[in-house]
Symmetry: C2
Subunit: 336 residues, 2 copies
């Protein structure tokens, strides 16, 4: 295999604010031979996710920062093309946290075979990290009850679309907040959201929320933070639950932003606010994947993927996340 | 009894910012006769509490606002001086939510006889609402484990002193934040806090906290909000728990304050933040009172009361809460 030249994407400088192409560098390296216990995985699809922005800062966070001049690691679906690993054979389709690279050599830590009942790309989306994030955040923190009102921000993203649909399955009124009419139509017409708010089109987000949530907000699943979250928190009900999943509105700010203090709203409503990362629920992943898979097979849980073609376009696809370009899961197709 | 003239304190205007004497009015009214099922309670002690400030605003909160030109209702310890109520006899010492008045006529709703094992004033403090607030907020939300670091703001108040001592009983490192050297000495020397921070004396609250919390903050019991809370939240550990009990720093602000956004800190630490009011735990009050009483009897739970003499000084005692004058529970002694 030493005749293969691999391509990898490194983080070469830490973004100040919005990342740019200059923060990344693609290099070509010859692939070494695999050793006993290793396998070679050819990347078919790789995942770009908003949380990866946080790892590009040199600061304590829920996952350690990326190191400079090292390959960026994220969700990858690939095919085993060589194996000296006892549990994986050539031809296996696998998913794991691997490098932004055309090939990865791995000992298989955190790499799993993809179950056969859905397309392999779902292992990075509805049946992968984003789906599980939605599942555990909504059900464990949100504890939705029939008839309650659930608001989800970043509703058209890989996580938000699953949150809204699970909330519908649980009999809730679901209100989605997203940033284009196309996204809002998709949520309303294809996924069955009860109300949608195009936050870029409305002049008064709080008034729009009041109209969409005549009974207030019982559960808020927050992917975005910032002004949108400020508005939602003003409408929470007694004993509301807020699942804090992401703050994409704040990820690219160079300095911590100020905003209205929100703790008084949490206090006077005896509300619960819980930050989480999907790995908090690692022990329950099999249960979550089984249920999500069942809903997908039954047609109760739909998903959309936004696929960019070509490894060369990986960085551009990542940057697009912060321009709000994707509906559903953003993927890069690297090979057939 | 119609020969008795009662004195009552009414809320006559809603405070803008810090309350003043002009917001209150004392009136004299002749007492009517009690009817069947009623009793007459002579006030011995009444309680002034920070949460009452919130009820003086005309806004949705965890308790309904006081109505203008009506008597202010709060915690009262009194003696039954006349009774046509089947469950209460003349001479009974009782505690309940009653008017800021020398006498109250009541049907006994929410009024309880005071158990005999501690002074009657404790029914308004360590064995009453503030003690139960500390007990349930710390134990249910905080879930303290041995060796963890607990920070409590407003540490020298009626709630904070109990929080810190229970945290010590549970084997935690306890750091108290208070506003005078006298308060800090009391917490450190008499109550056994491991470290104290006089937030008015330090120039850099975050640096002081870092020194006092070398292992970070696992539990934060917040009574004050504002800048102090901003600083504590920057030091929370993974899976920290924040019991949101009060925000006294913000109660008297005319406009909602802005501050650094705190949700990112909650998110990246998978932290839990929960607002609560003691009545959320009403069903468990007997359990809490029993345990608190046992700790008091055993000498494990100490308390201090700051007693102002005379019903005329009630409003002044209330205003003093916001000047940080009290150590422990602030009470007004109305009669022997």
């Amino acid at each position: 295999m030493s005749s293969i030249t691999n391509r990898e994407i490194l983080l070469v400088s830490r973004p100040k604010g919005m990342p740019t192409h200059d923060n990344f560098k693609m290099i070509e390296t010859p692939l070494r031979e695999i050793a006993d216990g290793e396998m070679l995985v050819r990347t078919l699809y790789l995942s770009v996710d908003p949380y990866m922005r946080g790892r590009m800062n040199d600061q304590k966070s829920y996952v350690p920062p990326y190191k400079l001049d090292e390959v960026i690691v994220g969700g990858v679906v690939g095919e085993v093309t060589e194996s000296k690993h006892p549990n994986f054979a050539v031809g296996d389709k696998v998913v794991g946290y691997l490098g932004w690279a055309e090939y990865n050599i791995t000992k298989g830590e955190g790499v799993h075979k993809i179950p056969p009942y859905a397309p392999i790309t779902t292992a990075l989306g509805v049946l992968g990290m984003p789906g599980l994030t939605a599942y555990f955040g909504l059900l464990d923190i949100g504890q939705p009850k029939e008839g309650e009102t659930v608001v989800v921000s970043g509703a058209a993203g890989a996580v938000g679309t699953v949150v809204g649909q699970i909330a519908k399955i649980k009999g809730c009124r679901v209100v989605g907040i997203a940033g284009t009419e196309e996204k809002c139509s998709y949520l309303r017409d294809e996924l069955g959201f009860d109300a949608v708010i195009d936050y870029k089109a409305v002049t008064d987000i709080k008034a729009a929320l009041e109209e969409a949530c005549p009974n207030g907000v019982d559960i808020y699943f927050d992917n975005v933070g910032g002004d949108i979250t400020d508005a939602v928190l003003r409408l929470i009900n007694h004993k509301a639950r807020i699942a804090l999943c992401g703050q994409i509105a704040l990820y690219n700010q160079e300095k911590p932003e100020v905003g209205p203090r929100v703790l008084p709203q949490i206090l006077i409503n005896s509300a619960l606010l819980k930050g989480f990362i999907v790995s908090d629920y690692a022990k329950q992943f099999p249960e979550g994947m089984k249920q999500l898979g069942q809903w997908v097979v039954e047609g109760k849980l739909k998903y959309r993927e936004n696929i960019v073609e070509g490894f060369d376009n990986t960085v551009e696809a990542f940057l697009g996340l912060f321009r709000g370009e994707n509906i559903g899961k953003q993927l890069v197709k690297v090979a057939e």
